[in-house]
């Protein structure tokens, strides 16, 4: 049996045990995270550290007499051990329910159906992985992380709901350096094709050689700017942070407050939606609710929907849309426009071409203002010609400007920004973003 098959057996055994052990008046919702991952960290095209991780954990939400208790615990995959753990944590959850106050916005556990998805991948095996990754990069200074292996999310509840999603995926997230000049690349998917990886690295090497001109230092000020899809993805990353969440809108902390209250607007060229057809994430959330295949959030600059969890729906008496509790997008897409790739430099004329941005944060939420840095391959362009790379600059820019009246064009192509976050564990997801052309992008330092 492979990792997914063994894990499915573990999950069924433990969840059956928990569900069968419930007393009358108790309901349970159970989530599983499991992964079997090879991580390889590179510096200077050599192996700095390599770590293999097998981790499985369960989260049990117990509802009893209007109370909600959540407990999470690691499981071993050994039934004798795991039965002891499951019993212990079920008891703990019960004791919590004894002492907790009523949960006023509890969403009753329901059977929201079933799903079963098993994606077979083709990954590098452990004996060839080092050579396959390093060989194409030789002759350059590569830093980065390879991550690959099975990744599983599953959900069951005591009313018969059952969801299973397993995939075998990888990403190679790297930077190539030449002194302080650098380019960024990510190769991700479920089917490793060595020739695609080799091509990707060669393209990065060519890009790096383009940076080999004297650096141009800019003065702070406003610049006509093209943001490539990876740079737009950094901005879109902020949409997970107190932005599209209905709960933060109601609590007054969302950066979309003024938009939600019709005091500010976005450009008709700007549309963003949740799109599970991208295949980057499963549709069920941690309560096993199925999100719609697509959900329009902002269309042609007009607000269509906030992300609303069932908990917020209950609190504010509005319909929910199966967002997860933190109401962050799980499969976000900024839709394409009509600027072809071949026209970008011509349309930019004179200004900045920014491939990547770095370390974004809200500098003023109420005006949806973001500060951050330029990073990697960023160029100064004159009369449609790349003149040379720029020294990194800080920007401070309101989304109401750059996605509002200063938004000049959106590219007719998009790129996938794969999820590469690995805090505590790997996670599923990703985004799809186009490039955007804007005027008066504000550099401050």
């Amino acid at each position: 049996m492979n990792f997914a098959e063994i894990t499915k057996e573990n999950f069924n055994q433990i969840s059956n045990f928990i569900i069968e052990s419930l007393h009358s008046g108790e309901q349970a919702n159970i989530n599983l995270h499991a992964e079997n991952t090879t991580f390889i960290r590179f510096n200077n095209s050599k192996v700095r550290q390599n770590t293999h991780i097998t981790q499985k954990s369960l989260t049990l939400l117990l509802q009893k007499a209007g109370r909600s208790a959540s407990v999470s615990f690691s499981i071993s995959g050994n039934w004798i051990e795991d039965k002891i753990r499951a019993q212990y944590w079920l008891d703990q959850a019960r004791s919590e329910c004894e002492i907790l106050p009523l949960d006023p916005f509890q969403v009753a556990i329901q059977n929201q159906g079933s799903s079963d998805s098993n994606l077979k991948g083709h990954l590098l095996n452990d004996s060839e992985v080092f050579e396959s990754l390093i060989q194409p990069a030789l002759g350059s200074d590569m830093a980065g992380l390879y991550c690959g292996g099975p990744l599983i999310a599953a959900n069951r509840n005591s009313l018969g709901q059952s969801h299973w999603f397993s995939t075998e995926s990888f990403f190679m997230d790297y930077s190539l350096y030449d002194g302080q000049r650098a380019v960024k690349g990510v190769y991700a998917g479920t089917q490793w094709h060595q020739e695609d990886y080799v091509n990707k690295i060669s393209t990065s090497k060519i890009q790096l050689s383009l940076l080999n001109r004297p650096k141009i230092t800019l003065e702070p000020g406003k610049y006509r700017t093209y943001l490539a899809p990876a740079a737009v993805a950094e901005i879109a990353h902020m949409f997970s942070w107190d932005f599209l969440s209905y709960n933060s809108f109601k609590k007054g902390t969302s950066a979309l407050m003024k938009f939600g209250n019709n005091e500010k607007s976005f450009s008709p060229l700007f549309s963003v939606r949740e799109n599970f057809q991208l295949g980057l994430n499963h549709r069920f959330n941690s309560m096993g609710e199925l999100a719609p295949e697509t959900l329009e959030l902002i269309t042609d600059g007009q607000l269509k929907n906030f992300l609303v969890s069932s908990r917020s729906a209950k609190e504010y008496s509005i319909p929910g849309n199966a967002a997860d509790n933190h109401e962050a997008p799980r499969s976000l897409e900024i839709t394409a426009g009509n600027l072809p790739e071949s026209e970008i430099l011509k349309k930019l004329e004179t200004g900045l071409y920014l491939s990547n941005l770095h370390y974004l944060n809200w500098s003023d939420r109420m005006s949806a203002r973001i500060t951050g840095m330029t990073r990697y391959a960023c160029f100064w362009v004159e009369k449609g010609e790349i003149i040379g790379p720029i020294s990194d600059m800080r920007f401070d820019e309101s989304l109401y400007d750059c996605l509002g009246e200063n938004l000049l064009a959106v590219t007719d192509f998009q790129e996938i920004d794969p999820q590469v976050s690995t805090y505590d564990s790997r996670i599923l997801g990703g985004k799809k973003t186009p490039g955007i052309m804007i005027k008066d992008f504000k550099l401050t330092l």
Partner: protein, 481 residues
């Protein structure tokens, strides 16, 4: 060591049974019990417990460390992780970044326990929830207050490290994080005030962190300040002196001293993620990082400090060291591996976020040593300036030069006196220039923490502490919203 009944975990026996085909092996067990409790608007919002446990098996083969971690704590599970670590380390050793030896894993023996006055078992969930309900009620000073919350994250961590060369380290950590937040709204203006900024109130401490009167007082204070901010003018756009409170100095020292001094950043390990560093190896002993008033230490012995411990994850015994003395950069943050790679002296800072990550160079407590000035005199010395506190926004470039930080609350200083409250205070600068403009340091200090300092590939969020005085800087660019 194990919360479960009738479960035996005999790591020493397991270690002894691992085949002796490698130069060196270590097993590092980590368990972490985390309790979240959150009350919003006097109602229970979130209550969750989690218990994560696992082991990291580490082997040294042909000069390369290999790691394999597992949540399967059976003897077979650990044996299987050991085999995987050996297999991958052997293959990787052909491409290794450095030739390491057992010198990077001293066979340390010892124990550590967080300093606490009252055990965490002495306060019940009910008591905490009651205090939090009362605290959010105390925040309800006006109809303008639209959201009130009180949150705690309590962590109890146990680490046991044993190695084939005789290491035997047992460390126990007790950590309490409290976070209060008030949002006020009126006429299209929204202001949020927290108890010292996000999750900064985070210490190694016991149940004494839940002193009812102290917490209620702090709850009322931030509610009053949220209302003050609602009525306040915007922070001026100007260049002036700023006096920074310890709850913002924490972030300042973290981002513009801690991170750039990490040896693994200087060595380039981190270049694909958080970035490189403007600091070069030859800067140690030479660079005038700040004004002569700046004294910065790496101090994992700080009582209650969030980043305190007795040994790092390589078995290196922790000790206090000066990083910057009289403004001159002396030493960086690097454990034994980085010290060997750079041939520089460092500190015991090789730390991992948990059993499932390999150790990398981190901060512990990075503190600013106290100065001699009284805070009142520091205010008196300022003609026109800003007293600024509690971080709400942070951003810095990948070499750690150009930063921009936003805070929750500030007061103008005019002719040596604190006057009006101003909202949306922000400031920006470049690291070395900024620290060289330090002109006065207070004789008192306060401790805060960063509960999720993110770094590394794979990513690791780790706890670090900062004990700092109030610091006065001249000619800083400030602005509002």
């Amino acid at each position: 060591m194990n919360i479960y009944p009738n479960m035996q975990l005999n790591l020493r026996k397991t270690l002894a049974n691992l085949s002796p085909q490698v130069d060196w092996t270590q097993i590092r067990y980590v368990s972490e019990k985390t309790t979240w409790r959150m009350v919003r608007d006097e109602k229970s919002e979130r209550n969750s417990l989690s218990f994560d446990q696992g082991v990291m098996v580490e082997v040294l083969i042909e000069g390369h460390f290999g790691y394999a971690g597992t949540s399967d704590l059976t003897e077979e599970g650990i044996k299987s992780a050991f085999d995987k670590a050996c297999f991958l380390a052997k293959h990787a050793s052909n491409y290794k970044a450095h030739n390491f030896t057992e010198l990077q894993r001293p066979p340390a023996v010892g124990t550590y326990n967080s300093h606490l006055e009252i055990g965490l078992d002495k306060i019940s969930a009910q008591e905490i929830i009651d205090i939090f309900i009362e605290a959010t009620r105390a925040m309800k000073l006006s109809e303008k207050i639209v959201s009130r919350s009180a949150t705690t994250m309590i962590s109890e961590i146990e680490q046991l490290t044993i190695s084939s060369s005789g290491a035997d380290i047992h460390q126990n950590f007790s950590i309490v994080n409290t976070d209060f937040s008030v949002t006020a709204h009126q006429n299209g203006e929204t202001q949020t005030r927290t108890d010292s900024g996000g999750l900064a109130r985070c210490l190694q401490i016991g149940a004494e962190a839940f002193d009812r009167e102290t917490l209620l007082q702090r709850a009322r204070k931030i509610a009053e300040e949220a209302l003050e901010l609602l009525a306040a003018e915007n922070c001026p756009k100007d260049t002036l002196d700023i006096l920074i409170a310890p709850d913002q100095m924490t972030l300042q020292v973290h981002e513009s001293i801690g991170h750039p001094l990490e040896y693994d950043r200087i060595l380039g390990d981190e270049r694909n993620y958080a970035g490189w560093s403007f600091v070069q190896p030859q800067d140690f002993g030479n660079l005038q990082y700040g004004s002569p008033l700046l004294n910065v230490t790496f101090d994992p012995t700080t009582p209650n400090g969030l980043g305190s411990y007795a040994f790092d994850d390589s078995g290196h015994q922790a000790a206090k060291e000066f990083l910057i003395k009289d403004g001159v950069l002396l030493r960086g943050l690097g454990g034994l591996e980085s010290q060997a790679r750079l041939n520089l002296s460092g500190v015991a800072s090789s730390r991992s976020s948990s059993w499932n990550r390999a150790p990398i160079d981190r901060m512990a407590n990075i503190n600013i040593e106290p100065g001699i000035d009284k805070i009142e005199d520091m205010i008196k010395s300022v003609q026109r300036g800003l007293f600024i506190m509690s971080n709400k926004s942070w951003s810095i470039d990948d070499y750690r030069n150009k930063f921009q930080f936003g805070c929750e609350y500030a007061k103008l200083i005019e002719n040596g006196e604190l006057t009006k409250t101003v909202k949306n205070p922000n400031y920006r600068g470049t690291t070395v220039q900024f620290w060289n403009s330090l002109k006065s340091v207070s004789d008192t200090r306060e401790s805060f923490g960063a509960a999720f300092c993110g770094k590394g590939e794979p990513n690791q969020g780790i706890r670090v502490g900062h004990k700092t005085p109030y610091c006065l800087f001249s000619n800083i660019e400030v602005f509002g919203a």
